[in-house]
């Protein structure tokens, strides 16, 4: 999952390398290898999910969702994403802006820290929260005194999800904003715009596609996160189960149709994310193509 973020959406270069031109079989070998790999590890499992989900017919498929526990899991997943994604959008924008447009002590450290959730295992991320907020944790006794529940409750799930997903927006924006520099903002300020106008009229429109791209990835991960959430959730049916956790429970109970039916929701989400991502990429590429278009040399 972490790898996807590194893929930049630059227009693909025209590959006419001397190697490829001389030996067409290399091209075909590489293409078939890639396709074979994708089929084995992506298309087959995806098909399996839907086949298993629909094994007992369409009625059984939809019946799987008509269970209070499943509905609660869907609701909790939506709530978690609805909190985590906007927060990470604001955080990502602020962090990217600070890093790209200002020079300050600790700037490089901040860039490294933003990558932290990609570097540590999600299970460790979850454990950190247990250590902090759990009953035996640092803040646990204080929380218990004030009757606040974080671990094995919704706040813990939201916190863990925010932690795991915060790099997505920032990572998308930082390279773009660094490349664009701050001259346009300076120009806006000279022309009399205030900070707010500069942000809404200049900064934001310049990064809107990258921002959307980051939000899409962030959302996909927020809804699909398993490891970190699993540690802090406590798996209380109908209360602290998100969709991925609910799938696991159903599967462990040998309720395969329901498990795969609920899993198919995540698969559909993934497909929608891919579609949205391609659409955004297409937009970005179109913009880039406009920039690269040979300029009218009329001077």
């Amino acid at each position: 999952m972490a790898g996807t973020v590194a893929l930049r959406k630059q227009p693909l270069p025209d590959v006419t390398s001397p190697v490829g031109a001389q030996k067409p079989w290399i091209k075909w070998l590489l293409v078939s290898l890639t396709l074979g790999f994708l089929t084995l590890f992506l298309f087959v499992p995806l098909t399996a999910v839907f086949t298993e989900a629909l094994r007992k017919g369409i009625a059984a498929y939809f019946a799987s969702f008509n269970d209070p526990a499943a509905l609660a899991a869907i609701k909790l997943t939506l709530i978690t994403a609805a909190i985590a994604v906007p927060l990470n959008l604001v955080f990502g924008l602020a962090a990217a802006w600070a890093i790209a447009k200002f020079n300050f002590v600790g700037r490089n450290l901040l860039i490294t820290l933003i990558d932290l959730p990609f570097a540590v295992s999600p299970v460790i991320s979850g454990l950190i929260y247990v250590l902090l907020f759990g009953l035996q944790g640092w803040l646990g006794p204080w929380l218990a005194e004030h009757d606040l529940k974080v671990i094995f409750a919704v706040p813990g799930i939201v916190l863990a999800t925010i932690f795991v997903t915060f790099p997505f927006v920032a990572r998308e924006l930082i390279p773009l904003m660094q490349e664009q520099g701050s001259e346009e903002e300076q120009a806006a300020l000279v022309l009399g715009a205030n900070g707010w106008q500069t942000f809404w009229r200049v900064t934001l429109p310049n990064v809107k596609w990258a921002l959307l791209y980051g939000v899409i990835l962030c959302n996909a991960r927020a809804m699909g996160e398993f490891g970190a959430v699993s540690v802090v959730s406590g798996h209380i049916r109908g209360q602290t189960n998100t969709i991925p956790l609910h799938v696991e429970i159903l599967y462990n109970e040998y309720n395969f149709v329901a498990a795969f039916a609920v899993a198919s929701l995540l698969a559909i989400l993934a497909l929608l994310t891919l579609a949205a991502k391609s659409l955004v990429e297409w937009q970005v590429r179109r913009q880039a193509a406009e920039t690269l278009e040979p300029t009218a040399a009329e001077d």
Binding site: E183, L189, V190, L191, N194, R201, T295, D299
Partner: protein
Amino acid sequence: MSIEVRSISKTFGNFTALHDISLTVPNGELVALLGPSGCGKTTLLRIIAGLEQPDPGSGQILFYDEDVVDRSVGERQVGFVFQHYALFRHMTVFDNVAFGLQVKPRRERRSKGEIRDRVMELLRLIQLESQASRFPSQLSGGQRQRVALARALATEPKVLLLDEPFGALDAKVRMELRRWLRRLHDEIHVTSVFVTHDQEEALEVADQVVVMNQGRVEQVGTPTEVYDHPANPFVYSFLGNVNLFHGRIDVGHAHFDSIRVDLPPVRPALDRTVVGYVRPHDIEVSRTCSSDEEIEAVVSHIHGAGGMPRLELERLDNHERVEAELTRDRFRELALQVGERVFIRPKSMRVFVEGQPLDYQI
């Protein structure tokens, strides 16, 4: 005075970018800040604009006798043109030019129709009316720079500041655009300061040239003044190519090998080494020796193309290189070949003693 800079200093860490700079820009003039890269000219321009702050307590910036040091960049009412245009890439040419008018507070903002008229008027001025709905990426470099200029002029700034406005353009467009800027300035007469490292550009376009070096102002004057009466060796060598002649001071004279120069009586300094500066076009080249003040040299290179053919010569006495520029007529008349022996004589030489000019014409 439209712009007055009073003892402004600027340091970045250990590096002093500007040493106690004072400068005045008269009303309606076009002034060039000229100097090599790193001399502080852009920093000075950005401080005038308010994009950069001078060292605390270091001095004042006055616009029309009002101190503006404490005013933010948006309140100074300057027009600023960036070297790389800094056009808003997601806005059309029209919206770029209209930006300054649209972001004004509601009570100062003009109506949509008025803004539209003003923008179209400016687009006519920069001859890009037909491109109003295009995006910056669809324009050529010269067109973009003109849009940047129109955008800066839209709010009717008190002063116009241009940071290397032609720096990113190729040679031909550069020359066309700077002439166009000069004509435009003659039409609209807004007090303007532009930064450049190209002495030709500064001498051609500006009313006044401010020559800067290492954070200091070396000389201020009209293009003719700074070119013909450079204040010191730096200005002399920065404004064009030079040949150096090393010599010594004697009673009332300076000797440059066989060349003897009479000095004005005010300079009693004796037995000092001096350097004589000669422009390539002030070197006379001939086949025959007509006086004993001539120096023998060998032609080592000929650059015949261009309006002023250039010769690279090597002196026979001390093997120093000398560059000479001839008129095309003279070049044809001499019809020199590489390796030929010639006699050279400086027609005009500038002598600096301890950095002070001593005017001398042969």
